[in-house]
Symmetry: C2
Subunit: 736 residues, 2 copies
């Protein structure tokens, strides 16, 4: 693809594909207003476009992605490292991360996020900012931060976060790497040391990003064996890996890259083995626990406080993941919807005019609900982020500092922390699943050309595929969701005996209570819609999703109880039997939250006059379509207990078709509103100007296979057939 020098989609009208032009002209709303809404404000949009232009017009040219697909993995890695270094230089010039106080919170800087996304390529070095520095801020004491954060800021220390091991993924309880205390008297350093060691092959640190080739320090998660030989469980240790002078490996450390992956291949995900590596005692992260010179272990806060902080950190990443699901899915929709407007197949009733793919209801049914989901995820991701920041702020205010036990003083209830954990777990699992499957559906919906790397969809998809697995596997998370929600169920069930439901009032899951109460009390809820039109009211659809979520949650609860009382199962066995039902309940809860947040979000933007009536209408149409399609897909969930009747099912189907046609009119404008520049989309199919075919050909011709005639395989292989005739049948061969 050509290295388009426009940040914004500034193609002139005359060069734009006429079908795309028509799509844009028929939009019923102001595209820019939605763009401003997504960016947060008009000035945010301006700032984003300004920063995107800086990347795109960078005089070094290093950010050109035009050759990405033709490079060997090694060369792509090297190039992405060069991009990273240039990005750091630009950040210095732009004043991003130039903290005099070294708070290290570059990850919170909107400018930084914008630049990182503007690069439109995976930058391994970014993990230093995104994971390593925040970890020091969260888990190290003030003195440690004062020492290490300036080194981080100045890129003397280049760090990674080393948790997972070859034989142990998310199950941190099983981690095998040890950090054993060694007193000075026993041969340790002055003040004592830790011996970091990998006792087995399976304890090899495996997967951490940049661990392989890039980082010179790792925050290693290891079992702490204190000076008294007591295993204190897992803690964090800052382990130097490589020289800060010349990047050579330090004694006792073996690292390397873990090899090619389905995607995300810029990144040197790494392995590391530690052979009795000695580090100073004070390299243990000591904010919440410490070990003195004699090797005595102390909690600086109770465990609950520690885990609360860990929760919040983890969940902030999850809010970013939900927002990332929105963006990735929106990118895929942008490519597919624009191409579906340009691409034609089959003939209209006149037998001559070819039909835009976008006009086929089947294509609409595949893609438009995904477009709607991408908007839903935006509102929910933003709300989740705000909630987490709010909780964090309250926790910090209440704690009055790192060394207090803030648990009892906080205005944040235990239930609220658990609830946000459940909410973020459910949403992480559901949104990344929808985005991963959705991007692939978009790719398939581009037909054969979606299989080409130059369509942009293969790499968007395969790199995105890490998301369903990292930060809590999507299939493990529902258990955590249900574990929390079952407590709410219990509280509702016991409501008459006490008043403990009040503590749930600031919880997201509290919204389920009316349905939970109704079902528990045997008041059967039923869908009140009396005709098809009734059944596309957002409030009606939300009630349906709420009822289903509550019912499925109760079903898990009943199943567990029944299994244990009737068949005498132990809890773990009953729990295992209920895993499938838990996954269903967690998904149902997510869909309820997402529709609720979507509705609230639209209202909020309208009240703040960020958007007007036309934008409210088009966003509401999206929300309706989304809910209708979700219900259509799981119709059995709504029929089985009589919440809906068969006529509701037909109305749902009718309404789906109706809203597909309504949303279709604005489909291209709605992806335009995401304002992904061609530079960011990196797709010949998704170009703003719709000039698809010349750029497919351009991309084809760039393949190195075309560099020589008659092709690189001729001399090595094909010549044996063509010249030497090894394929000629002599008529004499006998059957072996």
């Amino acid at each position: 693809m050509s290295n388009d020098t426009n940040t914004t989609n500034a193609a002139t009208v005359s060069t734009i594909n006429p079908d795309l032009l028509k799509e844009r002209q028929q939009a019923t709303f102001d595209v820019e207003r939605i763009t401003h809404m997504l960016d947060g404000s008009v000035s945010n949009t301006d700032r984003r476009r300004y920063l995107e232009a800086i990347i795109q017009r960078d005089p070094t040219g290093i950010f050109d992605n035009g050759n990405n697909h033709y490079l060997h993995r090694t060369d792509r890695h090297v190039r992405s490292m060069a991009k990273g270094v240039r990005l750091i230089e630009l950040c210095r010039k732009l004043g991003i991360g130039n903290d005099d106080d070294c708070s290290g919170e570059i990850i919170q800087s909107p400018d930084f996020q914008i630049l990182l996304e503007a690069v439109a390529d995976d930058i391994p070095l970014a993990l230093h900012w995104v994971m390593f520095q925040p970890n020091i801020v969260s888990l190290c004491d003030e003195q440690q931060q004062a020492e290490w954060l300036p080194l981080c800021r100045d890129w003397r220390m280049i760090g990674c976060y080393a948790q997972t091991e070859l034989g142990h993924g998310s199950n941190i309880r099983s981690l095998e790497t040890t950090a054993t205390f060694l007193k000075q008297a026993d041969g340790g350093m002055p003040g004592g040391s830790w011996i970091i060691h990998s006792p087995t092959l399976t304890s090899t640190k495996f997967w951490p990003g940049t661990l392989g080739r890039t980082a010179n320090h790792a925050m290693v998660i290891a079992r702490l064996i204190d000076g008294n030989g007591i295993d204190r469980g897992i803690h964090n240790f800052l382990v130097p890996l490589r020289s800060m002078e010349d990047h050579t490996l330090l004694k006792g450390v073996t690292t390397g890259d873990i090899g090619p992956k389905i995607g995300y291949n810029n990144m040197d995900n790494g392995f590391a083995q530690f052979d009795q590596v000695v580090i100073p005692r004070r390299n243990m992260a000591m904010r919440f626990a410490s070990v003195d010179e004699d090797g005595n272990y102390t909690h600086n806060n109770n465990n609950d406080a520690t885990s609360k902080v860990a929760y919040i950190t983890m969940m902030q990443v999850r809010a970013m993941i939900v927002n990332g699901a929105s963006k990735a899915l929106a990118m895929a929709c942008t490519i597919t919807l624009r191409y579906s407007a340009v691409r034609k197949q089959g003939f209209a009733e006149d037998g001559k005019t070819e039909v835009q793919i976008l006009d086929y209801t089947q294509q609409q049914h595949r893609i438009l609900p995904l477009l709607a989901a991408s908007y839903a995820f935006f509102f929910t991701g933003r709300k989740l982020w705000k909630q987490l920041k709010d909780i964090e702020r309250k926790l910090i205010a209440a704690s009055g500092g790192a060394s207090d036990n803030f648990n009892q003083q906080s205005s944040v209830s235990k239930e609220q922390v658990s609830d946000i954990h459940a909410t973020s777990s459910a949403l992480k699992s559901f949104t990344t699943m929808v985005a991963a499957d959705g991007i692939e559906e978009c790719r398939k919906a581009c037909g054969g050309h979606g299989y080409l790397s130059c369509s942009g969809l293969p790499e968007l998809f395969t790199s995105y595929l890490q998301s369903p697995t990292v930060e809590g596997d999507n299939h493990m998370l529902p258990q955590q969701v249900i574990r929390v929600l079952l407590k709410l169920v219990q509280a509702v069930q016991q409501q008459k005996q006490n008043t403990n439901l009040d503590t749930y009032k600031s919880c997201n899951s509290y919204a389920l209570v009316p349905s939970l109460q109704a079902i528990i009390q045997g008041r059967s809820e039923q869908c009140a819609a009396i005709n098809a039109q009734d059944l596309c009211q957002l409030s009606t659809l939300l009630l349906a999703l709420r009822h289903r979520a509550a019912r499925l949650l109760l079903a898990v609860s009943y199943q567990l109880e029944r299994d244990m009382t009737e068949t005498g199962c132990s809890l773990p066995t009953a729990w295992n039997h209920a895993l499938v039902a838990m996954a269903k309940a967690s998904k149902a809860y997510s869909q309820f939250l997402l529709l609720q947040d979507f509705m609230e979000g639209i209202l909020h933007e309208r009240q703040n006059q960020v958007i007007g009536r036309p934008e409210v209408d088009v966003l509401s149409d999206l929300a309706k379509l989304l809910a209708l399609c979700w219900i259509e897909k799981d119709m059995g969930d709504f029929l089985v207990d009589g919440y809906m009747r068969p006529e509701h099912a037909s109305w749902i189907e009718l309404n789906v078709l109706q809203y597909l046609s309504i949303v279709r009119q604005n489909a291209v404008a709605l992806v335009d509103a995401r304002d992904f520049s061609d530079f960011r989309l990196k797709s010949v199919l998704g170009r703003y100007d719709g000039n698809v075919y010349p750029y497919i050909m351009e991309a084809a011709q760039k393949d190195p296979l075309n560099d020589v005639e008659p092709g690189p395989a001729y001399e090595v292989a094909l010549k044996r057939l063509v010249r030497d005739g090894v394929g000629v049948y002599s008529g004499t061969a006998s059957r072996l």
Copy 2:
């Protein structure tokens, strides 16, 4: 991965992972008997293993796949070409394709199929055998075959099939490439010529495999403009692309590779543009139509006969696709189930023993239905192949030669040809969808390590992803299915007026008739199961799937009628509105056929004593699980018209859990029975011996990123941070 020299899974018991050993010991059936069933006979198994050993032990070592993932695409392509040439040499030695009569039907040779699969890598040259030669056999007249097939056999002519164009995928009606007749008198060759021409950018031939760098001839599909200037629609023309002497491009031809793709990158899918390329008149494929020296066009058979042959050819490929879906899915299941037996996470009730991933019901629910589907696809693929061969045989017998009009004489009814078209379309669409999604589900179910290329799953997945799109896009095919099935509906509806239902008796879709009749006549069918146990009888489940398929098919019919009569839509508009419903009906029909074929297949193998009671039991368990999971997933379809009641829904859920646990016991043995050697699986996670972790490490260490210390990016990029300090904060930068 090491280049294992065993063809069969001959690891000794002592080296096998104890958990895998346990899995194998608890199997309730004879694994080898299932293997023989899959191969067709004991001697087929022996022959397969013998041929696989030839590939694996080939003294040239060219077939080693151990470095595939580390090579640049160009190098992989070159290597795969070398493999292809070696494979041709071996075929010569083995007597494969050594036809004295040049029938060219190497694709029908089981030995050839085995060798091709044994290579366990995509071989571009194979398309010559698989698509090009059969095309000459089908569409060229005897004289043409006599001239060209020996050249094909001897690899003098290396051919590809060039249909799709840059702007036109499966929509052959829109193809733009022209073949214009030129009389000798007007400057043509003696006897007349064709001028092959690409009039536009979008007419560029695009996608054909080997067109880019490998083929020296292409069977080009182009619009025939005869000597009278009349457009006769699309026909096939043999166009020389490159010199048969030195592979240089011929005048007027431009070709190249189309660039990197999400998978299948060994293949040089190509583009070609023709600039007034002149070829002899007799290079038009003349079996079914011809043009004389004066440019007069004649049909040699009526169009119907031509299209029947095209149908059968296309559908044979589809039977192979269904069988391919079975194999690809079985490979993914093999990897994931073996790894799920070895991999542990979480603790058992004793708090000490770690739990095998395979014991989690959630994991079982993800993978075991896919295992069942892989077996179902085997039986259906085999049946479809037999049916097609049977029809082909009858058509050929009836035609008495190429030049007769066999349509009227054939014992194959028009309905039967349409029916097999509908059946194969539905099954192609459904099975490749299940396989593609299923392989990815298997990959995700391996957790993080499934993201590694060395797991084997990424390439299995991304290369498989062509299948949902090629040979009829999965989302286009349902229309073809429904178009045919609606005629059956009509016949049933008109049954009293005439007897035309008899002509459907040898059709697959005839099995739907009892349910169609019942629904049309208003006799409501209902599930007869009175308890959970009742509801896991295969006959009961099959009736449910039949009813649902018939109901959804009728729903399409009613919707079309209603749209046209009530709202006055034209048929194309009504048709477009019904596309979503058609996709549902087509899927439902596939599921019905698959369960029916599965049941018939088990019975058949039992009657022929290929398998015994234990094997019948375990296969029946798989069939039950599959049907239960399908119904569970689409529960709404069975509830909405009262075919099932809410208690049925609970029984289905209970039965699913029960059959997961039953099938789980034999899960590893059932994938062992597919007898994929480690050489073919190419997966460190799916190894027969379960020795997973050392081989993951071995694969990691082989990455070229690890060839140098401190890594290839150091000198080029990282040094600027580490040595030059470009990341150091000077404290003076101003905010831009």
